[in-house]
């Protein structure tokens, strides 16, 4: 049986997991559930997860997608890990601003800046 293509591209750089969305829309309910499960599996695997999620390919999202990100953030915190978000375009950033989630998440312009913000291992 053919496997569904992953909605995420996951790369390990040193101790840090880089996650990039491969779908431009992360608002679709089915996509969100799948993305949530995949992100959750990554966090579960790590002792103290260090994760950067890039939004470079994302041009739309919904409150359900925000909910999934918050759940992941809560899990990462529970495991004393670190989560960073990067490459969020201005239109999407405005959604974080309206919901005040820019106060909850640590957001950086680029993946490089997000890497530099992480404490050394």
């Amino acid at each position: 049986m053919a496997q569904e293509p992953s909605r995420l591209k996951v790369t390990k750089v040193g101790e840090t997991v880089q996650v990039e969305f491969t779908s431009r829309k992360i608002l679709d309910e089915a996509n969100i559930a799948e993305i949530g499960e995949q992100l959750n599996a990554i966090v579960e695997k790590e002792d103290r997860p260090r994760m950067i999620i890039s939004f470079a390919a994302v041009d739309h999202l919904s409150s359900a997608a925000l909910g999934t990100l918050i759940t992941i953030n809560n899990k990462v915190k529970q495991k004393s890990g670190q989560l960073r978000l990067s490459d969020i375009n201005p239109q999407i950033y405005e959604v974080f601003n309206i919901t005040k989630l820019n106060k909850l998440f640590r957001i950086y312009s680029t993946m490089k800046e997000a890497h530099e913000s992480l404490p050394s291992v």
């Binding site: 309910e29 409150s63 925000l66 909910g67 239109q91 919901t99």
Partner: protein, 159 residues
Amino acid sequence: MKRSRNKLKLAQAHDLPWVSIEFPSSLERAGQVGEEILAACRRHHFNDQDIFAIKLALEEALVNAVKHGNKLDSAKRVRVQYRITDQRADVAIEDQGAGFNPVELPDPTADENLCRCCGRGILLMRAYMSNVVFNPKGNKVTLTKFNENCPTVPNAAIG
């Protein structure tokens, strides 16, 4: 000046019939209806920023109706009525659920609620649309977006 233009927008919109669609509670069908409405908005020259806003608000309202209103019960139906002109987009979404009181919802932007995973849909609708009105029961929401970039129609100045 602005007031008279808004009056005109109202007058023109009132001449048009609403398009009405009813469907059983399904997120897939809700998505298709949302796309149909967005296509109509694009045909009526709403710009990319407005399309982003309408898409976001529509998605929230449609998911609310199917998931929270009708609790994904396919025996219950969602009724969508819309009317799109170059001047404005109006969309009413009604479910067969018990309704709710939007005033009673906790403020999702309060510090103590930032970590909660739900409850941001209505905040986003209000932020991105020109007007958001719930019926008293709370099972129908009407979203309005004015197209502020709409060039004045030549005949609009008459009268």
